[in-house]
Amino acid sequence: MIRVAHVTKYRGRQAVLKDVSFEIPAGASLALIGPGGCGKTLLTKIIGGLVRPDQGEVWVDGQEITRLSEIELTRVRFKIGMLFQNYALFDFMDVGDNIAFPLRQEGKLDEEEIASQVEAILKEVDLPGIERLQVNELSGGMKRRVTFARAVIRRPPILVYDDPTAGLDPVTSSKIFILLDRLQRQGATTSITISHDLVGLRSICTKWAMLVAGEVVFFGTSEEIERSPTKVVRQFWMGESDEV
């Protein structure tokens, strides 16, 4: 479904992603972990076609995307729902228009159907009837759930979540992961989730990839990562550091 082959990206002279390769089969959910600044977000942006890698290939749903034009990319992007780290809710629109935006840009449905879909998805994320609120009136957890609604409203086959529980309290975080799990079960989606919440990730992910300083140091299943012999992986998994 998603195949990343030898992707390398430079920022200045420094490589921020070094020869990254892995493959996610359809229907799998990948957890992308690693210390801060290791290139996780950049990798998801490359998969979404937002950033072009300097070397390597990215295949999404059987299509190589690194050499597509911006117009050709739109067809690929329609298959991906992306949830951004900084919410990325449009602050010049209300909640309803934000969620309806992907449908309006797609231009397949009329306004009445769009409104009913927005209403339905807001119910699904436990925020019924807040269409006319402004984005800045929402709390962090509500914003997260609205971004979920916007990412999934088109029912894309691929979902990318960049740190969906950043800055949220533990209770809200677990609610978010329950919601994620529910969305996952509804459709046969392939997903990539970046998070530091290993407990939450364990509840939803079947595959794991770990990046350190732009390199893949681990790729495999949940059982494999628990028994990984590699030191950095084990330390990250157990939350240990060298000093102790």
Partner: protein, 288 residues
């Protein structure tokens, strides 16, 4: 366009810690790189500006436009700049007339031609350039701040993920509104500084209002040059500032950089265009 980002790479945020480090380029490659970086920055910015301009023109004539957003932008531009422009242009009119009045007094003492000479100069030169510089200051920074904060909060990425071209969606409405409103505001600026000059001439040099109000020396060429300049400025400001906004990266620092780049780059663009259009105008309409 002159090295706004060049010193960014050397990390000049505030004054904490940086700079103590002695960067002495030891090898020739480093020296070349330190010369090349600003040059490269200027060239790539100019390239990006032209690319953005091309896209903006393309999408202005092709595809659906968000007309309600264009109207909204017109309102925003007008609302933001009206008071500001009035104040600045009134002072400009008073300064120009006061200064030239003193010279006239010293040399000929004949104030009768003052308004007649002042008006074409105002139409052809002062009002477009100062008006446009003020619009670059007020509106250009606003555009860059808005678009820049959308970039750093990933809203622009969200637009692109939903099959929306940032240039088409964000810049084109500002481009159309910018051209129209710059024209309106420059006409208004001319009026304000002419009236302010008229008042100053009356108060300080006792020039009667109807003597000052003399449009006999205004040629069609002056109007044509003035309007051409204004249209060029109106196109340049939203494109240059919008590009500065789209080029933002990082957090709040990135937005600060984008706004700074917007005001500097669009002011430089205005001055360069003024030079080009003024020069061409002089070639085409030498003297009557």
């Amino acid at each position: 366009m002159t090295g706004v980002g060049a010193d960014r790479s050397s990390g000049s945020t505030g004054s904490t810690g940086e700079g103590e480090r002695a960067d002495r380029p030891s090898r020739i490659a480093d020296i070349l790189a330190s010369v090349g970086a600003p040059v490269f920055y200027v060239l790539s910015t100019v390239g990006d500006v032209f690319k953005t301009f091309g896209l903006a023109v393309y999408y202005t004539f092709r595809g659906k436009k968000r007309w309600d957003e264009v109207i909204n932008q017109c309102y925003q531009i007008g609302n933001r700049s009206l008071v500001f422009i009035t104040v600045v242009m009134a002072f400009l009119g008073m300064i120009l007339i006061f200064q030239s009045g003193l010279q006239v007094k010293r040399i000929t003492g004949d104030f009768s031609q003052m308004g007649a000479v002042y008006l074409p100069l105002l139409i052809r030169q002062f009002s477009p350039i100062i008006g446009a510089l003020m619009i670059a200051t007020r509106v250009g920074t606003g555009i860059a701040a808005e678009i820049g904060s959308m970039v750093v909060t990933e809203q622009v990425d969200a637009l692109r993920m939903n099959a929306t071209q940032p240039v088409k969606y964000l810049i084109v409405p500002r481009f159309i509104a910018g051209i129209f409103m710059t024209l309106v505001l420059v006409v208004y600026s001319t009026l304000v500084s002419f009236l302010a000059g008229m008042l100053t001439a009356h108060v300080y040099f006792e020039v009667p209002y109807d003597t000052f109000w003399d449009i006999s020396l205004v040629r069609w060429a002056d109007l044509l040059i003035g309007v051409t300049k204004t249209l060029c400025f109106g196109m340049a400001i939203p494109v240059v500032s919008g590009q500065a906004g789209l080029a933002a990266f990082g957090g709040s620092e990135g937005v600060g950089w984008a706004t700074t780049a917007a005001v500097v780059n669009s002011s430089l663009a205005v001055i360069m265009l003024d030079f080009v259009v003024g020069g061409v105008g002089f070639m085409v309409f030498p003297t009557n």
